[in-house]
Amino acid sequence: MGEAIVVTSGKGGVGKTTTTANIGTALALLGNKVCLIDTDIGLRNLDVVMGLENRIIFDLVDVVQNRIKLKQGLIPDKRFDCLQLLPAAQTSDKSELSPKRMKEIVEELKQDFDYIIIDCPAGIEQGFKNAVAGADKAVVVTNPEKSSIRDADRIIGLLEQEDMEPPKLIVNRMKNHMVKTGDMVDVDDIVNLLSIDLLGVVADDEEVIKASNIGEPVALQPNSKASLAYRNIARRILGESVPLLSLEEEQGLLAKMKRFFGIRT
């Protein structure tokens, strides 16, 4: 019996889809059977980020309207057998789906997969309600900027009314040099304000954009910063306790020497 996790944020463009793709990939890397569901009907992206766009034949709406069996709608990933995607429809809209139907689909998938990661559309309307309906857990993605934190707060308020565990937080696109100059809200402040547990911090990394443009989730890379962060998040989801990555840049030989001798800068 698997576990369904919804990835949501309220605000658009903070990295829900990227996070979904990478958490899914990282979990699959660690040997779990994972199914990704894109619920952003009409504005699907997850297939693009996963590089599976060309393989779509059927989609979520076909499944919802019983035109095909659920299994037929799943697209296997190029890289892992244990990773599959249920893409959203591009031609319909969010009213095609209902929370009740979504719940049934997720329950059915839970029989075959360890993790079901649901990519939620932006906003708090029908699309959000659909995406949240079947989930056991929620991950809230936010950027270190005020408007995105405000929306995350609103979303957490709504998630608290749902029948699920308290949501966990991922801070995405952290720019460390801006925190240092005081131009960006730092992680502690965000966690204090939102008062939920932190699942991980992902640095703002150009590799993420490069990777999603070629349809290879960044989590597949061996040692980029974002990749490590996503893989750590996956391990935390599995229940391991993994310390937060330092966001500090390496600052030449002196800094390395200092670290070697245990002197904090």
Binding site: R150, D151, D153, R154, G157, L158, E160, L193, S195
Partner: protein, 228 residues
């Protein structure tokens, strides 16, 4: 015997007349005797209006009965009913009073888009985040951080205060007054208390300890009863 059977005792005070009504006889008897008594005491035309306080003792009157009583008295040209006092209130009124006089605890983070609206005093164990709002007819005490909107004394209680462990509100409202956070970024303050200053009729913030001196009856039941 006859004197002690009087149902209405009239006393003159500095503020006018006080009518003490016997609380053992029937309401009809009172009205009758009142009519009779006041008619016999016709006063000169040029007299000023006289305020009358009615003391009902252990008698409960409905609003209609009170109005009828006022009408009888008002008909005698120079008397005006100022107030009607009774030792009794109905259960509903008592409950209403209690509701306004209670401190209601909430354990919750009030997030963006959420509103708490209560009667009485609010004790919030948690934060009010930006975009969140707490409202109370009485005082508001917040154990955590206040970063959103707090509205104390919603029904017009100007003595209400807003206090928080950490204050960085986007707006404070007490009764009908509103104070906004400045447009520039501020640091926020610890353990302060906002109150409505009567002289400048503005919401001011001071150390909690100083505000207590200005509102010594902050917790008293009577204050809240009167404002309820």
């Amino acid at each position: 015997m006859i004197a002690s059977k009087q149902k209405i005792a009239i006393k003159g005070t500095r503020h006018g007349l006080t009518l003490q009504l016997d609380d053992q006889c029937s309401y009809k008897e009172i009205l009758g005797e009142l009519d009779e008594k006041l008619s016999s005491n016709n006063q000169a035309e040029d007299d000023q209006l006289i305020n009358v306080t009615i003391q009902l003792g252990n008698r409960y009157l409905t609003q209609e009965q009170k109005d009828a009583l006022k009408k009888v008295i008002r008909e005698k040209q120079h008397l005006v009913v100022d107030s009607i006092e009774s030792n009794l209130i109905t259960k509903e009124e008592a409950k209403e009073w209690k509701k306004h006089a209670e401190v209601k605890p909430f354990v919750k983070v009030v997030r963006s888009g959420q509103v708490i609206n209560i009667e009485g005093d609010l004790l919030l164990i948690g934060d009010v985040n930006p975009g969140g709002k707490v409202m109370a007819t009485g005082n508001i005490f917040i154990m955590g951080s206040l970063r959103g909107i707090a509205h104390a004394g919603v029904d017009g209680d100007e003595k209400a205060v807003i206090s928080a462990s950490f204050m960085k509100p986007s707006q404070l409202r007490i009764s009908d007054s509103i104070s906004q956070a400045p447009d520039y970024e501020t640091d926020g303050v610890y353990m302060e208390c906002a109150y409505l200053d009567e002289k400048v009729s503005k919401i001011l913030m001071e150390r909690l300890q100083d505000v207590i001196k200005k509102r010594p009856d902050l917790s008293s039941f009577e204050r809240r009863m009167l404002n309820g």
